[in-house]
C-alpha cells in the first residue's frame, strides 16, 4: 500500500492553520509556519483556491477559509447555476439532435429536472423544470445512480414498473449501472413510456465529481437504430454536449 500523499497532508495543515486565530494569512506567513518553501505553499494554496476551500482577499492578498468548506455537506453546485452554465450547450444539443433536452440532478432518490429545452419542431410543449422523474426508469436517472454508490444502494425491494420493459429487480439494475460506468453513458428504451427512448451522459465538476446528467428523449424510432439500440450519432452528440459543460465547470480530464 502506498504511503500518505504528502501534498494532501500539507493541504490539510494549511486548512487547520487558517481555521485558527485571525484566519487571515499571507503566503509567506503560511510557508513560515509550516516550514514549507514559499513556492510549495503557493502551489497548494492556488489548488485549494481553485476548489473553493480557501479564498483570497482582493486587497491584501491574504488567504482565509473558503465558503465551500462550510457547505461541504450540501450540494456543491447550485442547480440554478448548473442551468446557467449548461444552457448554451443544451440548446446546441437540442438543435443538433432534433430532440428535447433535459438536465437532471439527484433529489431524494429521484431525478429533479433542472433544465428543459423543447424539441425544436415548434409544437406545443410544456416546460417541466421542477418535475421529479424515477431514477431507475430514465437515462438521466441511471447516469446519476451509476456514479453515486450511496443512492444506488438505497434502492432495494421491488422497483416501480412503468412499462413491461422497466427494470424492477435491483440486482439487474446494478448490472446495468456497471455497464453505464463502463460506457460513460446510459440509455433507456420504453422503460418509462411506451414509444419513447432516451440517452444521457454525466456532467462532471472539478475533480470529476458527477454533478448532474444531461440527455435527450424522443420517439423510439427516432432515437434508436434498427437494432433497437440508440443511434451512435445521437450518443456522440449527447456525450460531447455533457463534456463541453463539464469542461466549463472545470472538469479538466473529461
Amino acid at each position: 500500500m502506498p504511503g500518505p500523499v504528502q501534498s494532501i497532508e500539507r493541504a490539510a495543515a494549511i486548512l487547520r492553520l487558517l481555521a485558527r486565530g485571525s484566519g487571515r494569512l499571507g503566503v509567506s506567513e503560511i510557508a513560515g509556519s509550516l516550514g514549507l518553501a514559499r513556492g510549495t505553499a503557493h502551489g497548494i494554496l492556488r489548488t485549494l483556491h481553485g476548489v473553493g476551500f480557501v479564498e483570497q482577499d482582493e486587497e491584501t492578498g491574504k488567504y482565509r477559509l473558503g465558503a465551500a468548506l462550510l457547505h461541504l455537506g450540501t450540494s456543491y453546485l447550485d442547480v440554478n447555476e448548473l442551468r446557467s452554465r449548461a444552457i448554451n450547450w443544451a440548446d446546441a444539443l437540442a438543435a443538433r439532435s432534433g430532440e428535447a433536452v433535459r438536465i437532471g440532478t439527484p433529489l431524494d432518490g429521484k431525478v429533479l429536472v433542472v433544465h428543459h429545452v423543447f424539441r425544436p419542431d415548434d409544437t406545443l410543449q410544456t416546460l417541466d423544470v421542477g418535475a421529479l422523474l424515477p431514477a431507475h426508469a430514465t437515462a438521466l436517472g441511471k447516469v446519476l445512480l451509476a456514479y453515486d454508490a450511496g443512492a444506488a444502494a438505497a434502492l432495494h425491494g421491488e422497483l416501480e414498473p412503468f412499462t413491461r420493459r422497466t427494470t424492477t429487480v435491483p440486482r439487474e439494475l446494478a448490472r446495468m449501472l456497471a455497464e453505464v460506468r463502463d460506457m460513460g453513458w446510459a440509455a433507456e428504451v420504453e422503460e418509462m413510456t411506451v414509444g419513447e427512448a432516451g440517452v444521457a451522459a454525466p456532467i462532471r465538476g472539478q475533480g470529476g465529481l458527477v454533478v448532474g446528467a444531461m440527455g435527450i428523449t424522443g420517439a423510439v424510432e427516432r432515437i434508436c437504430g434498427p437494432g433497437g439500440r440508440p443511434k451512435p450519432t445521437l450518443v456522440t452528440g449527447v456525450r460531447d454536449a455533457a463534456r463541453a459543460v463539464s469542461r466549463d465547470l472545470g472538469a479538466s480530464r473529461w
Binding site: A67, D78, V79, N80, E81, R83, S84, I87, N88, W89, D91, A92, A94, A95, R96, H116, V117, F118, P120, D121, D122, Q125, L127, V129, G130
Partner: protein, 502 residues
C-alpha cells in the same frame, strides 16, 4: 469537405465572448473573459479598452482551437458590442486616452443639463431620434475633450480618434497604428446623438452643438459589409459585420418584419421593435434607432425601450452586498420565500431610462420591515426586472396602438425560470425563449455570414429559429394590479434625489 464556421465577437459590458457557429446557426465553441469594472466615484463607470482588446486577442484563437478548427475555416467575423461606451485613442501609438466611459456612467449630468438649456437643444431629438441624456456618447466625448488639456487640438488634427467598442476592435484587428480601419456601423452611430437618422451620416449642426470635431469620427458603414480582412489575431479572416448588441439580438431573433420584437436581458434589458424602413417617433419615451442595414439596402429602423439595470442589480447583490456567491443563486434564494413580503427595489443606479428619462433619480429599497429577509430582497431584485419590462411594454403598446401578444426573450437572465415566469405574469402574455440563449452573438454571426454569402438570405435564417422554452401567465389579475401600483409608487420615490447644482 472541410467544415466552415462564422465567428461572433460579443463585446459586452461585463465580458467579451467569442463564439463559432455552424451552418445551422448552432454553437460549436465558446470562449469568454470578463474585464474589470472601474467605479472611481459614485455614478462613474469605466472600462480599460486595452484590457478588452487583450481579452479578444486571447479568446478569439482559443475559440477556433476549441472547435478543432484553423483560422482559414472561419468564413467571416461579426462583432456585436456594448453600445454608447466611449473610447478615445491616439492614432499613432494605439494607446487609449484614459479609460473608456461606459454607457451607465452619469458624470455628464451637469453638462447635459447645460446643453438642454441651449436654444438649439430641440435639434437633438429631431435629428437623431434620441433624448438628450447621459446615456449616449456625444456628451462623453465633449467631457473628455473639456477635461484633458490639449486633447481638443489633437482631436481636431485627427491624431485622437473616437469610437464605440466595435470601432476600437475593428481598428485594432485591421492593423491598429499600421493602417487600421476607422469605421463604425449605422446602429452604433445612431446611439451617439451625432448621426442624422435620415441621411445616416454625421450631422454638422449636431457636431457643432456638442462641440465634437469631425476629424476624430469614424466612417459610418452598413451593419453587414465586408469592412476588410483582419491583419492581427486571425489574419485573413474577413470582418463582415458590426452591430450594437441589442440590434444584433433583434437580428439573431430573426425579427426581420415590421411589428416583430424581442427583449434581451443582460446587464440592462432592451426591448426592440422592428418598424421597417420608417423611423417612427415615440410619444412615450421610447428611442428611435437604427435596427440594422444590410449592405446598400435601405436601413431598417426600430423603436427601443431601454432599461439600464436588470442583471446589474443581481450583480450588485453578489459583488456589492455579497449576499449570493453567483448570479443564478438569486433564484435559489428567491425561492426560499413565497413573495416579496412588501419590499420593492427600484434600481435607478444610472437614473431611470424608458419611459421616465430621469437622470436625477437614484435607487431605493422601500417597504422594509423587520419581517424582510434576504429571500424577500432576492425576490424584489428579480421583480424589479419584471416591472421595468412591464413599463416598457406599456409604452410600446401605447405608441404602436397594438397590444404585444407574446414576448421573445434572450440573454443571460433567461436562464432564470422564476424571473421568466414573473415576466409572463406581469405582462399577462406568453414569454418565449428561442433555442439560442446567445442571441446577440448569433445575430452578429448571421449578419457577417450574410455579407460573405455563407448564408444566402433572411428566409433561410428564419428557419433556424425554434422555440426552446415558453412560460405562460398565471397571476391573479387583481394581485397584478395591486403589485403594479406598489411598484409605481416606489418608482415615484426615486425622483429628484440628485439636486441641481445651485
Amino acid at each position: 469537405m472541410v467544415e466552415r464556421y462564422v465567428m461572433a465577437v460579443d463585446q459586452g459590458t461585463t465580458s467579451t465572448r467569442c463564439i463559432l457557429f455552424d451552418h445551422g446557426g448552432r454553437l460549436v465553441s465558446v470562449t469568454q473573459r470578463e474585464h474589470k469594472q472601474h467605479f472611481p466615484r459614485p455614478g462613474w463607470v469605466e472600462h480599460d479598452a486595452m484590457e478588452i482588446w487583450r481579452n479578444l486577442e486571447r479568446i478569439a484563437p482559443e475559440a477556433v482551437a476549441q472547435a478543432g478548427a484553423t483560422p482559414d475555416q472561419v468564413a467571416a467575423l461579426g462583432i456585436a458590442n456594448q453600445r454608447e461606451t466611449t473610447v478615445l485613442w491616439d492614432r499613432h501609438t494605439g494607446r487609449p486616452i484614459g479609460h473608456a466611459i461606459v454607457w451607465q456612467d452619469t458624470r455628464t449630468d451637469r453638462l447635459v443639463d447645460e446643453l438642454a438649456a441651449h436654444p438649439l437643444a430641440d435639434l437633438v431629438r429631431e435629428r437623431c431620434g434620441l433624448p438628450l441624456a447621459t446615456y449616449f456618447s456625444a456628451p462623453r466625448i465633449r467631457w473628455m475633450l473639456d477635461n484633458r488639456p490639449g486633447l481638443r487640438e489633437r482631436a481636431e488634427r485627427g491624431d485622437v480618434l473616437f469610437g464605440t467598442m466595435e470601432s476600437w476592435l475593428i481598428w485594432n484587428l485591421t492593423g491598429g497604428p499600421e493602417g487600421g480601419l476607422h469605421v463604425t456601423d449605422v446602429t452604433n452611430a445612431s446611439r451617439t446623438l451625432l448621426m442624422n437618422l435620415t441621411t445616416l451620416d454625421w450631422d454638422d449642426e449636431l457636431l457643432a452643438f456638442f462641440g465634437v470635431p469631425r476629424a476624430m469620427l469614424p466612417r459610418i458603414r452598413p451593419s453587414t459589409e465586408t469592412y476588410g480582412p483582419a491583419r492581427r489575431v486571425l489574419p485573413g479572416v474577413r470582418i463582415a459585420a458590426a452591430l450594437g448588441d441589442q440590434q444584433a439580438a433583434l437580428f439573431g431573433q430573426t425579427c426581420f418584419a415590421p411589428g416583430e420584437a424581442k427583449c434581451t436581458y443582460g446587464t440592462g434589458a432592451f426591448l426592440l421593435l422592428n418598424t421597417g424602413n420608417e423611423p417612427v417617433r415615440s410619444a412615450h419615451g421610447l428611442l428611435t434607432t437604427v435596427g440594422y442595414q444590410i449592405g446598400s439596402e435601405p436601413a431598417v429602423y426600430a423603436l427601443e425601450g431601454s432599461i439600464a439595470i436588470t442583471g446589474a442589480l443581481v450583480q450588485w447583490f453578489r459583488d456589492g452586498l455579497g449576499i449570493i456567491g453567483s448570479a443564478p443563486e438569486i433564484e435559489t434564494l428567491a425561492r426560499t420565500v413565497d413573495d416579496n413580503g412588501g419590499c420593492y427595489i427600484v434600481p435607478a443606479f444610472s437614473g431611470l431610462f424608458t419611459p421616465y428619462w430621469r437622470s436625477e433619480a437614484r435607487g431605493i429599497i422601500v417597504g422594509l420591515t423587520s419581517y424582510i429577509t434576504k429571500g424577500h430582497l432576492a425576490r424584489a431584485v428579480l421583480e424589479a426586472t419584471g416591472w421595468q419590462t412591464r413599463e416598457v411594454v406599456d409604452a410600446m403598446n401605447a405608441d404602436s396602438g397594438l397590444a404585444l401578444k407574446a414576448l421573445k426573450v434572450d440573454g443571460g437572465m433567461t436562464a432564470d425560470n422564476l424571473l421568466m415566469q414573473f415576466i409572463s405574469d406581469v405582462l399577462n402574455v406568453p414569454v418565449i425563449r428561442p433555442m439560442a440563449a446567445e442571441t446577440v452573438s448569433l445575430g452578429a454571426a448571421y449578419a457577417a455570414g450574410l455579407a460573405v454569402g455563407y448564408w444566402p438570405d433572411l428566409e433561410g435564417l428564419r428557419r433556424n429559429w425554434h422555440r426552446a422554452a415558453q412560460w405562460l401567465p398565471a397571476m391573479d389579475p387583481a394581485r397584478r394590479e395591486v403589485e403594479y401600483d406598489n411598484w409605481r409608487r416606489a418608482v415615484e420615490r426615486t425622483f429628484d434625489w440628485i439636486k441641481p447644482e445651485s
